[in-house]
């Protein structure tokens, strides 16, 4: 069943790594705050060594099973997607597909594939590979499944010619190509099964050389890469043996590694001024969320949910829980996407919150807020919010539990919990992940609330289907207004994307994606 993949990435990665290492988020916002200074003309050769907190023995090279940050780094080195996102949240750059167009109502999509691409084993890339990969997404075992199930009519996906694939949909999706950019959507070779990923063959910038889960892995440059002159370096080493953040920082300081992927906010702050290390920092749309269940329980009353949202002092949460390495959010997810309603701003108004609670007959409402260090800032923000909400008359008891089970079986059923959204290029992807009844991350149970659930779901489907930009803008506005006024997500801030690199590393950029401008190691070079 279902489409739960995406978030789980963040979740589990975090559960696994000491300091939390979410792949999770997708990309977001706007301009990079800092980028690596251009160091002259790119140079070829050398080895780029990247360190990440371990994903343990769960690490994999199968793009359909990508789970942790090291998985993301490795599969982005080996595989390409049909479209890529980097530099900003919403722009789709041609990948293995050069363009896509649909029929008038966006129910049949035609993908035009790149000519002259070869696999690492020398075979030519073509439509058969893409048809095979898309069909692999029909299995719920693949985490790509969640983004396309119920949308793609898998049985009718067909090759039109060697470089053209036709993808019929079950429902109209105006921004369908935006769903093909995600890290679980790496294109694999025709016939690739689970045993193919011991020695994976991709089309990507680096070729597989060696891999041991939870340890170091080695890749060599693919000198026939279609996106020349990339990659610059000859060798890529990804070291995911680190269980300890300070060991990782020491490794970077001593020159034993070149890149620290996903830096904790405190360390990023320490080296913000530059000098010994360079900080890559960018805003991102990955939103920190307190998620309230709407269809039943204490948060079924919209007045209680709005009171919670009004009780949050967002700047203080960003400062206190994220070390200031983030931006204030206003409960809506999808910043940086087309049609995002950036003008809806939530005030901090404990007085109004108090009167709403009173109106709802829930004065002095008391409940448990489960948290865990499953991601950086979870425990800190839960504790801080509980203190803030006192002013509005809430009595919140923070329950700190083990990270390993935080996203366990009660994830989708508990009345309240913490979450993060992903970095996605379209509202279509964000809303289909979080706000459709069959979405596995629909922790607010949007669409099943009474009254109005059915109508709310229908509205989202209409917005997803809207081909005409003017109509789409209207419908997405309506969807977001409803979310802002009735929804169960308290999204208080976004995490900046943070990486630290050695001073002699050039070419790597900050971007809204989870790390290194959406895992773009191919642009890096050693000065």
């Amino acid at each position: 069943m279902t489409r739960r993949g995406a978030l789980r990435v963040g979740a589990t990665a975090l559960a696994v790594g000491a300091a939390g290492n979410a792949l999770a988020a997708c990309g977001g916002a706007t301009d990079a705050l800092t980028t690596s200074s251009p160091g002259g003309k790119p140079k070829r050769g050398g080895e780029l060594r990247v360190s990440t907190i371990t994903g343990g023995t769960a690490e994999t090279l199968d793009p359909g099973l990508v789970l942790t940050t090291p998985d993301g780094l490795r599969t982005y080195a080996i595989f390409d997607r049909l479209f890529e996102t980097y530099d900003d949240v919403k722009t789709l750059h041609p990948g293995l597909a050069t363009s896509a167009e649909s029929n008038k109502d966006a129910t049949v999509w035609t993908l035009h594939l790149r000519k002259g691409v070869t696999w690492h084993d020398g075979k030519p890339f073509g439509a058969d590979d893409v048809v095979w990969t898309i069909n692999a997404w029909s299995s719920p075992e693949s985490y790509a499944n969640q983004f396309v199930v119920g949308l793609v009519d898998f049985k009718r996906v067909r090759k039109r010619d060697d470089l053209t694939v036709e993808v019929p949909l079950l429902v109209p999706v105006a921004e369908f190509p935006s769903l093909l950019t995600f890290y679980n959507m790496g294109i694999v070779q025709n016939g690739a099964g689970k045993h193919s990923f011991a020695k994976p063959v991709g089309t990507g910038p680096f070729k597989y050389q060696s891999f041991n889960p939870g340890q170091q892995s080695l890749f060599v440059a693919n000198r026939d890469y279609w996106d020349a002159p990339y990659p610059y370096v000859d060798k890529l080493l990804i070291d995911s043996s680190f269980t300890d953040e300070s060991a990782r920082l020491n490794a970077l300081l001593s020159g034993a590694t070149d890149v620290l992927s996903l830096a904790p906010p405190t360390e990023a702050k320490q080296y913000e001024a530059g000098g010994q290390l360079k900080l890559l920092r960018s805003q991102s749309p990955v939103t920190m969320i307190i998620s309230m269940r709407m269809d039943q329980g204490p948060f079924a009353d919209v007045r209680v949910r709005q009171a919670m949202r009004l009780a949050a002092d967002r700047p203080a949460l960003v400062e206190g829980a994220l070390d200031g390495m983030g931006q204030v959010a206003n409960d809506l997810i999808g910043e940086g996407c087309d049609y995002f309603a950036a003008d809806l701003v939530r005030p901090h108004d404990p007085e109004k919150a108090k009167s709403l609670l009173k109106e709802a007959g829930m004065e002095g409402m008391s409940f448990d807020l489960p948290t865990s260090n499953a991601a950086p800032g979870y425990v800190e923000s839960a504790t801080l919010f509980a203190a803030q909400a006192q002013e509005a008359g809430f009595d919140i008891k923070v329950q700190n539990g083990p990270a390993a089970t935080y996203f366990g079986l009660d994830y989708a059923t508990r009345p309240i919990g913490q979450d993060q959204c992903l970095c996605c290029p379209s509202l279509t992807q964000q809303y289909r992940t979080f706000f459709v009844p069959e979405g596995a991350y629909n922790t607010t149970h949007w669409g099943t609330q009474k009254p109005g659930g059915k109508a709310a779901s229908k509205l989202i489907s209409e917005a997803v289907a809207a081909v005409d930009p003017k109509l789409a803008a209207e419908l997405w506005r309506e969807v977001q207004t409803q979310q802002f006024e009735e929804g169960g997500q308290l999204g208080w801030g976004t995490n900046d994307s943070l990486d630290l690199i050695a001073p002699n590393v050039e070419g790597l950029k900050a971007g809204p994606g989870p790390t290194l401008n959406n895992w773009r190691l191919l642009t890096g070079w050693i000065a």
Binding site: G56, K194, A251, F407
Partner: protein
Amino acid sequence: MNAELEQDPLAPVGVAAPPAARVPRGSHPVLRFLLRRCAVGFLTLAAVSVILFAATNILPGDVAQTVLGKEATPERVAALRSELHLNESVVARYGHWVEGLVQGNLGDSAVQVAQNAPDPSVGSMIATPLVNSLILALIASILIIPLALVLGTIAALRAGKSTDYAVSYGSLILGSLPEFVVGTFLILLFFNELDLYPPVALVPPGASPLDNPEALVLPLLTLLAASLPFGARQVRAGVVESLKEDYVTVARLGGIPERRVLSRYALRNALPASIQAFAQTIQYLFGGIIVVEAVFAYPGLGNLLTNAVLTRDVTLVLAIALVIAAVFVVINIVADLLVVFLVPKLRTGLK
């Protein structure tokens, strides 16, 4: 731990009583002693395996849930649990595990199975880290043994004097500091301040830790700081005991020069006790290695164990813990054998 030569680790160490001579005659007595110790070792490991298995079953959150994370719909958890035989009773699962062990198969990593990995066998995962950890332990032991002997003996000979206090209190303080504190301090001093040694001990794929000996300096110093005090205190206790023995007094009264009294009478007889002390020190060292590997990102067994616990990879945790237990048992047997060879009284007592 040490069935036949048991002692309180902190009490002064004496020579243990000879083992009961119930083994039938025919083979060499030392060989029979060895066989008996091995049998006891196996029993110990069997007991350890039961405890380990029980303990890993108490850990909150099973591997199916941890690996699947938010993907953990009840259906998928159930499917994965049945694939990993988690539905069977604890006793049945223990049976499967032991059956594999007897055939020399440490099992498949639960997480790797859950991830559809092509080669989930635990054996291939732990081989290199085990060698890496043994290298670290071996070098540390080679350094600790002579140092502990010298320091312990000096302290014992100067018992009650300022040198003794310096060694004893110094080692007490150093030994009470956790490894990660010592390690962090050494990094601050030798890397951040002096820039002499690297603060991490990464080993590139295919390389050996010995290729870059400089990187091993700080991990070894940390292990030394943690284990040397323990070893030195044990040696001191042994030497102090033997200095009180009648034969030392008699030798001194007989006018034998003090240096000779020490080397031939006191130290020689303190040696068996010291060997036991070293066995314990090395075992203690293994505990420290797990922490030290995390601090210095050294790719050994401890690092792998940390990973395995974080992902609830039960089979991998079991395999590593059992391997470490086996190392403990082997160290004990070797120490017992050495003692038997060094003490004629024990050797002749073996019938």
